[in-house]
């Protein structure tokens, strides 16, 4: 509200301050001239003056002059000069940012941010206005085209969705914007680029049309003209536009690939010869980072496999992959560029056998020459390397082994005893070294990297069991599995290391009974897990460790082939039940997916961590967890009903299961007894009923017989007069008898009815209810599932509620906005009234403030300022 009061003050002018006209008054008069002067020259001058005022008195010009300016665009469109002024003025008042010299005395800062937006909203209320501006893009005159571009950019900044729709709906709207890229005047071309960047944000249809209109050709032309990565910020803008066109837009990605544009990406990554120390300016780093993003948008892990595959293939065929690998191995590359290059190579090879094989054979120019993979892993387990870089190496390694059985087996191979003495450093050795490192992060990286060799590869899980490590000279070598378990015990409170090892072990043991067997044969393994899972620390990360230990135990139950008798499936189940309690155990498992980092890791294969402490869970592990959680829960949960049905032995049950079973049996027996009782009652009642029914029938037939008799008698009475007395007496008697019988029968009838009723309604429904409750007891177990369902529904409902709240907040906002507008309108009205009144007063010879005389001069003054 304060905004409008102050606006009002400035529109009306602060009262009685000498004879100086306020800005508002000047604006008012200029607007009046633009609107009503019949001379173009005069209108043009006034418009120029308005432009000059439109920064300092932005609100006043916007509030009073919007209509006049739109009128100029419409009526004076043939005069480039005045149109130029009008467009410039509109640019200023709709600018998303505020100006330094802007005067908004008592305005709160927060409302200042909205001024541009509010004027944009007013401007586009009339969608034709946007059409007019689009039309001016076709005008070659610099003073028209340029501000038209800038105005559209501001409008898009402020109201992207609305403007996008208007442009999409206006005939050839997008084409007009695309034409601008061909403008030989660099300023226009560059600003048009920025405009297109805004225009294409988040609108797939516009992105496709822009691509259809040869956007990629034009962008590559500009990029090469500007000198590729050595070019200025224009190159970056081109790449930003390219990114907009490609991100999440499969149709455009396909078009990019089919149009052979991938081939045109390769030369962008050509690095200067190493002697050249013009090297790496900040702009060049930005350009290269953007180019790497472009490559990555073509092959994101979430894309349809077919599309990614064929793009990856092209990237290798055209030498792009090679160029990228060269950057990896080059010296003097800034760390952030190197990191992003590694991430890019990762996605270019991910899941593509040919590319993975190529990558495996890339050699680093080290002495002695080593495979690039080895050199990268050396960085990963080196604590002196930047954190981001180390993460990217692990990501690259993950992608390298993703769906790569050969690569997985080669890695495991490097750890197996072999006949040939291997002298050089191998990937396997590096990772084992990392496992034993004193640095928690190295442990984590190495454990996770090793687990990638096992993902969905049962053969390698078994192979890895054969790996033996010599700990110290003279000691028997012990298995890698045993080592891992021992390491786990030694980690104390190093959460990160423990989690790494637990993820490795989970991946290893899942779906591999042989591995489970080896693990269970290690004496310390299960006691450790039981102790951890049973501990009660409340720290989030500790809870995660407990959950992972419970999960690993669950895996031991699930994939247990009962070969280790001390920890057979059943014995482990009992252990869980006795030592931890089933409920607690399941709660612990659910802690894993409740951890805040879980959903992040589950969502995207790349590590999103900003710092080491956020690196706890890995994507591949989360996938495994998601797939196995249900299975594990089922495996540790006893299922008495299933056993009954199968008639399988009750001997194999735990005591608690047994007692539960007994309880159930008792319950069922009890229900059975009740059922029989009730059936007997029904039988009895049914029998009674049918007896009564028979009696009723009997009586009914007697009655009708008597009735007949009666009729005969009456007839006799009527005809045989002589025998009246006797006859009538007889008749009477017979009637009385019949009457009595009738009553009798009626009474019995109603009794029958009552009984019937009782049998059908009362007793039956009671029976039914009892039957129902019997059935219900039998189905208790399904109610758990139902409960879960209900909980989920509740959560959904809560979410919907929140949404509704947000929506209502939004509509309130809209209402407030509308109120503001109304007020603004009111203001303008009052203003006009005031003017009229003043004019009337003047006409009546009354002296009104004399500012008006001075105004002319003031206006001139501003114009001078403008031309200066």
């Amino acid at each position: 509200m304060e905004y409008f009061k102050s606006g009002l003050k400035s529109v009306l002018g602060t009262p009685q301050e000498g004879s100086q006209p306020t800005g508002a008054e000047t604006v008012e008069r200029l607007v009046d001239r633009v609107q009503s002067s019949t001379l173009l020259d005069d209108r043009r001058d006034a418009c120029r003056a308005l432009k000059a005022l439109s920064r300092k008195f932005r609100i006043e010009v916007g509030a009073q002059g919007m209509g006049a300016l739109c009128q100029v665009l419409e009526m004076d469109r043939r005069d480039c000069e005045i149109v130029g002024y009008a467009l410039d003025t509109l640019c200023n008042i709709t600018a998303p940012e505020s100006f330094e010299d802007e005067e908004h005395t008592s305005l709160s800062l927060s409302s200042v941010g909205n001024i541009g937006e509010q004027f944009t909203e007013i401007f586009i209320k009339q969608p034709d206005n946007v059409g007019l501006v689009l039309g001016f893009l076709e005008e070659y005159d610099f003073h028209v085209r340029w501000p038209a571009v800038k105005l559209l950019t501001s409008l898009l900044d402020n109201r992207p969705k609305e403007i996008q729709e208007i442009i999409l709906a206006s005939p050839m709207g997008v084409s007009k914007l695309m034409e601008l890229l061909g403008d030989s005047r660099e300023v226009i071309r560059n600003d048009a680029l920025l405009l297109l960047v805004q225009l294409t944000k988040g609108n797939a249809n516009i992105q496709k049309i822009v691509a259809f209109q040869s956007a990629f050709d034009r962008l590559f032309d500009v990029i090469s003209e500007e000198g590729y990565s050595d070019g200025g910020i224009v190159v970056e803008d081109c790449l930003l536009l390219m990114l907009n066109l490609l991100r999440n837009n499969n149709s455009n990605q396909n078009f990019f690939k089919e149009g052979s544009y991938i081939q045109r990406l390769a030369p962008m990554f050509n690095l200067p010869p190493e002697s050249d120390d013009t090297g790496w300016s900040a702009q060049k780093v930005s350009n290269i980072l953007c180019m790497l993003q472009v490559v990555r948008t073509l092959v994101p892990p979430g894309n349809p496999a077919q599309l990614t595959m064929s793009s990856q293939k092209t990237m290798k065929a055209c030498g792009l992959l090679e160029t990228l690998c060269n950057i990896l191995m080059a010296s003097g590359v800034p760390a952030d560029v190197l990191t992003e290059t590694i991430n890019t190579v990762a996605e270019v090879i991910r899941g593509n056998q040919g590319n993975q094989e190529y990558f495996a054979n890339v050699m680093a120019p080290s002495n002695p020459p080593r495979p690039a993979v080895v050199v990268l892993l050396m960085s990963m387990v080196n604590e002196k390397q930047p954190f981001g870089l180390r993460c990217s190496v692990l990501y690259c390694f993950q992608c390298f082994l993703f769906k790569n059985e050969i690569g997985q087996s080669q890695l495991v191979q490097t750890l197996l005893p072999s006949s040939t003495e291997v002298v050089s450093l191998t990937t396997g050795q590096l990772l084992c070294g990392g496992l034993f490192s004193g640095e928690a992060l190295s442990n984590w990286f190495s454990a996770v990297a090793l687990s990638y060799a096992l993902v969905e590869n049962p053969a390698q899980k078994e192979q890895l069991l054969r790996v033996l490590l010599a700990t110290s000279i003279g000691n028997q070598p012990i298995s890698l599995m045993h080592q891992c378990t021992m390491l786990l015990l030694q980690q104390g409170n190093k959460v990160q290391s423990k989690l790494g090892l637990l993820m490795l072990l989970s991946t290893w043991l899942a779906h591999c009974p042989l591995a489970v067997k080896q693990f269970l044969s290690i004496p310390t393994s299960i006691p450790y897990l039981t102790a951890q899972a049973g501990s009660n620390e409340h720290d989030d990360n500790e809870k995660l460790v407990q959950g992972m230990c419970a999960f690993l135990m669950g895996i031991c139950v699930t994939f247990n082939d009962d070969t280790v008798t001390t920890f057979s499936k059943e014995k482990l189940r009992q252990l869980v039940e006795k030592r931890l309690g089933l409920e607690t155990f399941l709660d612990k498992i659910s802690e894993v997916s409740k951890h805040e980092l879980y959903s992040k890791a589950a969502k995207h294969p790349q590590f999103q961590a900003k710092q080491s402490s956020e690196l706890l869970l890995d994507h591949e592990f989360c996938c495994l967890f998601k797939a196995l959680e249900g299975m594990v829960i089922k495996a540790v949960t006893p299922k008495p009903q299933g056993d009954l049905v199968n008639g399988s032995s009750e001997l194999s049950m735990s005591p608690s299961e047994n007692s539960l079973l007994l309880q159930y049996k008792d319950l069922i027996r009890e229900q059975d007894r009740k059922l029989q009782e009730l059936t007997q009652i029904i039988d009895r009642l049914t029998a009674e009923k049918s007896t009564l029914q028979a009696q009723v029938d009997d009586l009914t037939s007697t009655i009708s017989q008597l009735r007949d008799e009666n009729m005969v008698l009456r007839a006799q009475t009527n005809t045989g007069l002589g025998q009246t007395t006797d006859g009538s007496t007889l008749g009477h008697k017979s009637w009385a008898k019949s009457h009595q019988l009738k009553t009798d029968s009626e009474c019995k009838d109603s009794l029958t009815c009552k009984l019937e009723e009782q049998v059908t309604s009362g007793t039956m429904s009671d029976l039914e209810a009892r039957l129902r409750s019997t059935t219900m007891d039998g189905t208790v177990s399904t109610s758990d599932t139902e409960k879960e369902l209900r909980e989920t529904q509740q959560r959904l409902a809560a979410a919907e509620e929140k949404l509704a709240e947000l929506e209502s907040a939004d509509s309130e906002l809209q209402k407030l906005r509308k109120d503001q507008e109304d007020l603004l309108e009111l203001l303008t009205d009052q203003d006009t009234r005031l003017n009229q009144l003043k004019a009337q007063l003047r006409a009546l010879g009354e002296k009104v403030d004399d500012d008006d005389e001075d105004l002319e001069e003031e206006g001139e003054g501003y114009e001078d300022e403008d031309s200066a």
Partner: protein, 199 residues
């Protein structure tokens, strides 16, 4: 802009396969042509989807770029943005639904109004495998094509019958126009089709 040569790649913007509001089989035709497979349940096309394939005409490799458009009225203004750059269009109706055939005139007017006047238009009666449910006689399609100067063919995206021919014949026609210099396109090697649909 109109079918301008693309100096860099030598692509020409050429054919539009035109299928209209939902369900006559545009997307299936495109998929059959580019991937040689039929997918019975196809997502509704939103806006426009891109597809491409290399073919050989006169010993020359030509890359066809095809833009499969959504038929719904709501996407009309989007679809129009593509007409101008297209050298050809396939106008598709469904032989088992007469209303799609009746809609052709409207579509044709719209296309002619917004496209290059030399745009090659082929009329396609799709779903020829569903003979038992046919509502539009082949002769009717032929007559309509004759009357409006279009090429005509019946196809089945399901059995692939005539699908190759439909696209390739249209491409040939465009290619001839290029040779004659009707299209201002440097001789090499690409055509943009637009798929439109009548429903």
């Amino acid at each position: 802009m109109e079918s301008q040569p693309n100096k860099q790649t030598g692509w020409c913007n050429g054919i539009a396969v035109d299928l209209y509001s939902g369900g006559v089989g545009k997307s299936c035709l495109l998929l059959q042509f580019t991937d040689k497979r039929f997918q019975p349940v196809h997502d509704l096309t939103i806006g426009v989807e891109f597809g491409a394939r290399m073919i050989t005409i006169d010993g020359k490799q030509i890359k066809l770029q095809i833009w499969d458009t959504a038929g719904q009225e709501a996407f009309r203004s989007i679809t129009r943005s593509y007409y101008r750059g297209a050298a050809g269009a396939l106008l598709v109706y469904d032989i088992t639904r007469r209303e799609t055939f009746n809609h052709l005139t409207t579509w044709l007017e719209d296309a002619r109004q917004h496209s290059n006047s030399n745009m090659v238009i082929m009329l396609i009666g799709n779903k020829s495998d569903l003979e038992s449910r046919r509502e539009v006689k082949k002769e009717e399609g032929e007559a309509f094509a004759r009357e409006h100067g279009l090429i005509f063919m019946e196809t089945s995206a399901k059995t692939a019958a005539n699908v190759e021919e439909a696209f390739i014949n249209t491409a040939k026609e465009i290619y001839e126009k290029i040779q004659e210099g009707v299209f201002d396109i440097n001789n090499e090697v690409c055509c943009t089709f637009l798929l439109n649909l009548a429903s």
